[in-house]
């Protein structure tokens, strides 16, 4: 790879053309080829497989699988669970970001680490902790069931487990964004006599709206697709507490492959929409998001 003196000279001479900061054409093409081959085989092929398998027994079977009673109930439960998780985690994310970025207090780094914690807890363990805390064998769980509140193996349990798993998304997007924007505009509003709510609605929210949408998008995608945690707390009651990913597992294990992939294709389509909306946001409002500053 050691260039000859002649090449070295031309590198120096051609510096303005950019040859000093890129690789020679063969290396470049090799890397591009590896990237395209790797991503196609590794990422695109599994996605393609979902749709091919979903339609493997024909369009009729596909739509029959999606309009099945249990499938519809799973779709409904997934939407409800995700709506609750997104709602609560959005309020939490805004509060956490407001407190962390507008004020100085002790233990702030510890607080940020705590917010991140659910990311490094296995989803199965997330389900387990709520089963131990709220299940029928725990003091709290038996007290709740005596008062007619069923949480485990029911919708509230699914919602709580999903909230845990998706807790960091909105906060993690808003904190760096609001830190980068600073507090000068909020201070100006407050100095002019605006109340806290007014300052938030008319000054902060317009500044963070795209970042907020971005966080909600990711939170929603993860909430709808969550599997491990809800698998523990659902108890697998058919048609009662199954979300779409759980329904996929049940159908797959019963060898109803086409039906399993049909529901999977719906979820895959959903993640497609998420990715599309995400890259649209990055392209149109990249300078108003936290993670993408400086990206092409």
């Amino acid at each position: 790879m050691e260039p000859t003196d002649g090449q070295r000279m031309s590198i120096i001479v051609d510096r303005s053309a950019g040859s000093a900061t890129t690789e020679r054409a063969p290396v470049r093409w090799l890397l591009i080829a590896i990237t395209i081959a790797f991503l196609s085989l590794f990422l695109l092929l599994p996605l393609l497989e979902v749709f091919v398998q979903a339609f493997s027994e024909g369009v009729k079977v596909y739509f029959a699988a999606l309009s099945d009673k249990e499938a519809l109930s799973a779709i409904r439960l997934t939407l409800i669970t995700a709506a609750f998780a997104v709602f609560f985690n959005t309020i939490f994310g805004i509060c956490a970001a407001w407190a962390i970025t507008n004020f100085q207090f002790r233990g702030k780094n510890l607080l940020i680490t705590l917010i991140d914690l659910p990311f490094s807890v296995s989803p199965v363990i997330a389900g387990l902790v709520f089963l131990l805390l709220l299940g029928s064998r725990s003091p709290l769980g038996s007290w709740l069931s005596e008062h007619g509140l069923k949480i485990m193996f029911a919708t509230p349990g699914l919602v709580i487990a999903t909230i845990f798993v998706t807790l960091p998304f909105v906060a993690r997007e808003l904190i760096p964004l609001m830190q980068a924007q600073g507090t000068s505009e909020e201070q100006a509003a407050a100095t002019l006599g605006a109340s806290g709510w007014r300052t938030f609605w008319h000054v902060t929210l317009p500044n963070i709206r795209w970042g907020l949408l971005y966080g909600i998008l990711l939170c929603n995608a993860r909430a709808m697709g969550e599997f491990g945690a809800v698998s523990v707390v659902s108890g697998h009651i058919r048609g009662m507490s199954n979300t779409m990913p759980l329904q996929v597992e049940i159908l797959y294990n019963d060898y109803h492959f086409a039906a399993a992939f049909a529901i999977a294709s719906l979820l895959a389509f959903l993640s497609f929409l998420t990715l599309g909306a995400r890259s649209l946001l990055e392209r149109k409002h990249g300078d108003e998001l936290a993670g993408t500053r400086g990206m092409a």
């Binding site: 790879m1 050691e2 260039p3 120096i12 000093a20 900061t21 890129t22 470049r28 890397l31 591009i32 395209i36 790797f38 991503l39 590794f42 990422l43 092929l45 599994p46 996605l47 497989e49 398998q53 609560f88 509060c95 956490a96 407001w98 407190a99 507008n102 004020f103 680490t113 705590l114 917010i115 914690l117 990311f119 490094s120 807890v121 296995s122 989803p123 199965v124 363990i125 902790v129 089963l131 131990l132 725990s138 807790l167 830190q179 507090t183 000068s184 201070q187 407050a190 995608a221 697709g225 599997f227 491990g228 990913p245 993640s271 990715l275 599309g276 890259s279 400086g294 990206m295 092409a296």
Partner: protein
């Protein structure tokens, strides 16, 4: 953070309202949903006693499951680092048709529900699958072996490696590379001695994040793994099996072992990120 001088912070503390409300909500929410439930897990585990914990954790099956989850995640994270670096470099530095689409596809494993990824990978790499059949002819069985576990782990955590590296590569000023070339360094020398040290903290952080994700992963693995005890059974699945047997103590012990190990990984990630920031601001 550029405008937040110390004077500004001081003023903001007096001028902006809402600290008690927002901090109160934040702390209550975190306590109810994260701190108390996790503390409950460790409280349960302490009820087992050290000897009980030790007996559960040192059984052959549990040890193997932990070994596969952590060892497999290590291999997967290393693979993610290598391919993630190539992919990030290519996507940031080169212009080619389809670049934009590939760039937005990077997050697919993150957006795709894990169960969907799991059954898709299984269908693809099963002995009669599109990729599984040719691989089987070469004598490589992916599905229902530890290789399948590592494959699913690599798939699911790839975005972490690429996404951590991309912004750092994009921000890297080309003037150092130009200077190195002017001083007579070959391109390989420049990449090895100028570019690589500058992106190393980000590469390590991305790898650590990928590792953390792969260790706890469940949904995408259980379909392709085949789940043979002592062969291809991961720790999260063993927790699930213990729960189905109503052996809550066993499940709790394995979960605690995973959390303690993951905690040290989280510490390492935080140290790496601090190092990363210092490198970036230097």
């Amino acid at each position: 953070m550029t405008t937040a001088s110390s004077a500004g912070w001081h003023r903001s503390r007096r001028a902006l309202p809402g600290l008690p409300l927002t901090l109160g909500i934040t702390l209550t929410y975190l306590s109810l949903l994260v701190l108390i439930p996790l503390a409950g897990l460790f409280f349960r585990a302490s009820g087992l006693g050290l000897s009980g914990l030790w007996a559960t954790l040192t059984s052959q099956r549990v040890l193997h499951a932990l070994q596969l989850s952590f060892g497999g995640a290590l291999v997967a994270a290393a693979l993610d680092a290598v391919f993630g670096a190539i992919v990030a470099w290519t996507l940031v530095r080169y212009e080619f048709p389809g670049r934009r689409i590939l760039h937005s596809m990077i997050d697919l494993p993150f957006a795709l529900p894990t169960a969907v990824a799991g059954i898709a990978l299984t269908a693809l790499y099963a002995p009669n699958g599109w990729l599984g059949a040719p691989l089987a002819k070469l004598g490589i069985n992916v599905a229902y072996t530890p290789i399948g576990v590592i494959l699913a782990m690599t798939f699911i955590s790839l975005p972490f490696a690429v996404r951590t590296l991309e912004p750092v590569l994009a921000d890297l000023s080309k003037q150092y590379e130009e200077a190195a070339a002017t001083l007579g360094a070959s391109r390989l020398q420049t990449v090895a001695r100028v570019v690589f040290p500058a992106v190393l903290p980000a590469l390590l952080t991305g790898t650590a994040l990928a590792f953390a994700r792969a260790v706890g992963e469940y949904g995408s693995i259980i379909f392709i793994a085949g789940n043979l005890p002592n062969v291809s059974e991961i720790a999260p699945l063993l927790i699930m099996i213990r729960l189905e047997e109503f052996d809550y103590a066993g499940a709790t012990a394995i979960a605690c072992a995973m959390l303690v190990l993951s905690f040290f990984i989280l510490l390492a990630i935080n140290a790496l990120q601090a190092w990363n920031r210092r490198m970036a601001s230097a």
